[in-house]
């Protein structure tokens, strides 16, 4: 199993007295640029440490928010491509449906792949619902636009005989010929995220790495949907490295210390409600049928996080114990955390990439360093040696 260290690069000083909005409408005067600089340098130091400790690295971007200062993954990836040596650099993701120019995406990602000497893992996402207002990209047609941007980027990265033409409803280019081309051939590995079976089928057909987050013990159904679609298309079972799961991570020498860190990391989830309500469900982002169901339920979305025994968990308000029970957080001593991860992996029928949110919210540099270091010494070697559940058994379950 591969493990990726992830932080959203939060500007946590603004997480107090925000009046209910941490995203979209929070004025940026709440950010002190000097403090932001200090925090960003700190996060890069921690990623550098993670690289040295044997972690891979995951980055993302969000917009108009105090929860994530990375407003373009390109900056983060560019810096990491140069200052890290060994880690795979996973972007999860590049929000294609918010960005008007997939040519630029192809150029940026190819260059980053070359600078990092082939360490890029290329995660494409549509983008979160609340950010369609700041990006002003139309939330209607997002799926079609996402896949067309994807098709274009792959074509741009794999065309080596001079310019090609692309004129469609969404994108217009006449002489596409990107320099540099990607380091990895034919192109960096493609990842995406999903919370729906509909997407899982498409990703399974493509054979791309599929990541989920917050799906806890409801993850298996999504993986199995992927597996069925993969098998149908590729005539074999997907290897475990096609699956990724984002879990919150809090390790401690003692259980008490781990729980203290768990509370800090859980703050990431606890900021989720502070997205102003009007931006949570832009028109067309979810289907008409899903919107009808949402209106019937008076706006309350159906539960999506469950414990092993089927108890629904609200990950925004759940306790650390709830989050552990639901497989949303891995928290405890190194032995406990290893057991939790292995157990969860068994539930999934195999899962080859653990996306580990080992820093969030107010967690200090010292706590983050300790969280990473202890994990790297006591858990990581065992996970690297871990033999994934038998494929046949996983398929039969």
């Amino acid at each position: 199993m591969k493990v990726f260290h992830f932080t959203e690069q939060p500007y946590s000083p603004a997480w107090k007295d925000h009046g209910g909005a941490l995203r979209i409408t929070i004025p940026n005067k709440r950010l002190d640029p000097k403090l932001a600089g200090d925090l960003l340098h700190r996060y890069y130091d921690e990623w550098q440490l993670a690289d040295e400790l044997g972690f891979n690295i995951m980055v993302n971007e969000h917009h108009s928010t105090a929860t994530c200062m990375a407003s373009t993954v390109v900056v983060t990836l560019s810096i990491l491509a140069r200052i890290t040596k060994r880690a795979r650099l996973l972007v999860l993701g590049y929000p294609l449906a918010h960005r008007p120019d997939p040519l630029r995406a192809a150029e940026e990602l190819s260059t980053i792949d070359v600078v990092s000497r082939g360490r890029l893992e290329m995660g494409f996402v549509k983008g979160v619902p609340s950010e369609f207002s700041p990006s002003n990209a139309n939330p209607v047609g997002v799926e079609e636009r996402f896949w067309e941007a994807h098709d274009f980027i792959i074509k741009a990265m794999t065309s080596h005989d001079g310019p090609f033409n692309w004129e469609s409803e969404n994108f217009h280019y006449r002489q596409v010929n990107i320099w540099p081309r990607p380091y990895q051939q034919p192109h960096p590995p493609v990842w995406s995220t999903t919370g729906s079976k509909h997407n899982a089928v498409r990703l399974g057909q493509k054979g791309y790495t599929m990541a989920t987050l917050g799906t806890g013990y409801a993850t298996r159904a999504l993986y199995d949907t992927y597996r069925a679609a993969y098998r149908e298309t590729h005539r074999r079972s997907p290897p475990p490295d096609r699956f990724a799961y984002l879990g919150l991570m809090a390790v401690g020498e003692t259980e008490a210390e781990a729980r203290r860190r768990g509370e800090l990391v859980a703050d990431y989830l606890r900021t989720l409600p502070f997205t102003p309500a009007p931006f949570r469900n832009p028109p067309g982002f979810i289907s008409v049928d899903a919107n009808v169901q949402l209106m019937k339920a008076a706006g309350r979305p159906p539960a999506r996080s469950f414990t092993k025994d089927g108890r629904a968990i609200n990950m925004m308000t759940g306790s650390v114990q709830d989050l552990i029970d639901a497989g949303i957080m891995f928290c405890g001593t190194p032995d406990q955390v290893y057991d939790q991860i292995v157990d969860f992996c068994g539930h999934c029928g195999g899962m080859g990439n653990l996306l580990s949110m080992s820093h969030a919210g107010f967690m200090s540099h010292e706590d983050t360093v300790e969280n990473l270091t202890l994990f790297s010494k006591e858990v990581l070697p065992r996970l690297e040696a871990f033999r994934q559940p038998d494929e046949a058994a996983a398929a039969a379950e």
């Binding site: 207002s133 002003n136 990209a137 139309n138 939330p139 209607v140 047609g141 409803e169 309500a277 009007p278 931006f279 832009p282 028109p283 067309g284 008409v288 919107n291 009808v292 209106m295 019937k296 339920a297 008076a298």
Partner: protein
């Protein structure tokens, strides 16, 4: 092509259009607003006492499939031109509310061959202010429940428990919200080219506005009116963005009064 009275579906260029047809008299093409077409709307019944009301449901709204490639108001305008030709409609009055008013002008700048008069009701479609002035209320900046409070002057229209509505109505609402965004997300509820073309519309026009419209203000309506070649402006008191919903009788009186009036001299 002849329309049957009541609700029917016609096919134009392989595209299905739902049409409601009622009443008799001179034809009145009613273009519904962004909330979709509601055949129970009292205003339609009132209009149909003096006119043959022909009300298509715009592509993307209602039940019919969204035609491939449709994403601009012009797509609807050209489809409706084909529809008007197929119906051989002449001398119709066109009445467009909200996004329907935008569709009406998008047709009329191309040709007014089918129309003798036009009524725009709290219409979208143009940009009047400078680049940092929001002419049109950002309908996606508030929740659906709060939007209803902004839309209506009389708050009893805003107070409804959506979760209790029939599934069919919810489906129509969900489609309407998506379709409006499809056509109007960016540029937001307007076509930057439209204002400069409005002078081409020379038929007598009434720009009718809810005096309390907080989605597009009466001043926006006045600017719309000024850009047309032969239009005058009137308001309906104690009405918000949908005067035909809030004040159906005043609305019908104003519309019918205008379209039945003999020639009005150009201002």
């Amino acid at each position: 092509m002849k329309l049957a009275p009541g609700h029917s579906t016609v096919e134009i260029n392989g595209i299905e259009i739902e049409i409601d047809c009622r009443g008799s008299g001179k034809p009145l093409l009613f273009l519904h607003p962004e909330i979709g077409f509601d055949r129970a709307e009292p205003a339609l019944e009132l209009l149909s006492r003096s006119a043959q009301v022909i009300a298509p449901t715009h592509p993307g709204y209602g039940k019919a499939k969204l035609p491939p490639g449709f994403n601009t108001i012009d797509d609807i305008a050209y489809l409706y031109l084909d529809l008007l030709e197929a119906l051989d409609l002449r001398d119709a009055a066109v009445v467009g509310a909200g996004i329907g008013g935008w569709i009406a002008t998008a047709i009329a700048v191309k040709t007014t061959a089918h129309f003798r008069k036009m009524v725009l009701v709290d219409a979208f479609g143009i940009k009047i202010g400078d680049r940092e002035t929001r002419d049109i209320f950002d309908m996606y900046f508030v929740t659906e429940a709060d939007l209803a409070k902004v839309i209506y002057c009389d708050q009893q229209f805003a107070e409804r428990d959506v979760s209790k509505l029939p599934e069919e109505t919810l489906y129509a609402l969900a489609r309407a919200r998506e379709a409006t965004s499809l056509y109007g997300w960016r540029p937001y509820m307007h076509d930057p080219k439209l204002k400069g073309r409005l002078h081409r519309i020379r038929i007598p026009s009434l720009v009718l506005w809810g005096a309390e419209d907080r989605i597009v203000s009466p001043d926006y309506g006045r600017a719309y009116c000024a850009a047309l070649a032969n239009a005058h402006f009137a308001t309906i008191e104690r009405a918000g963005h949908f005067p035909h919903v809030e004040r159906p009788e005043e609305f019908a009186r104003a519309v019918l009064g205008f379209i039945e009036e003999k020639e009005r001299s150009a201002p």
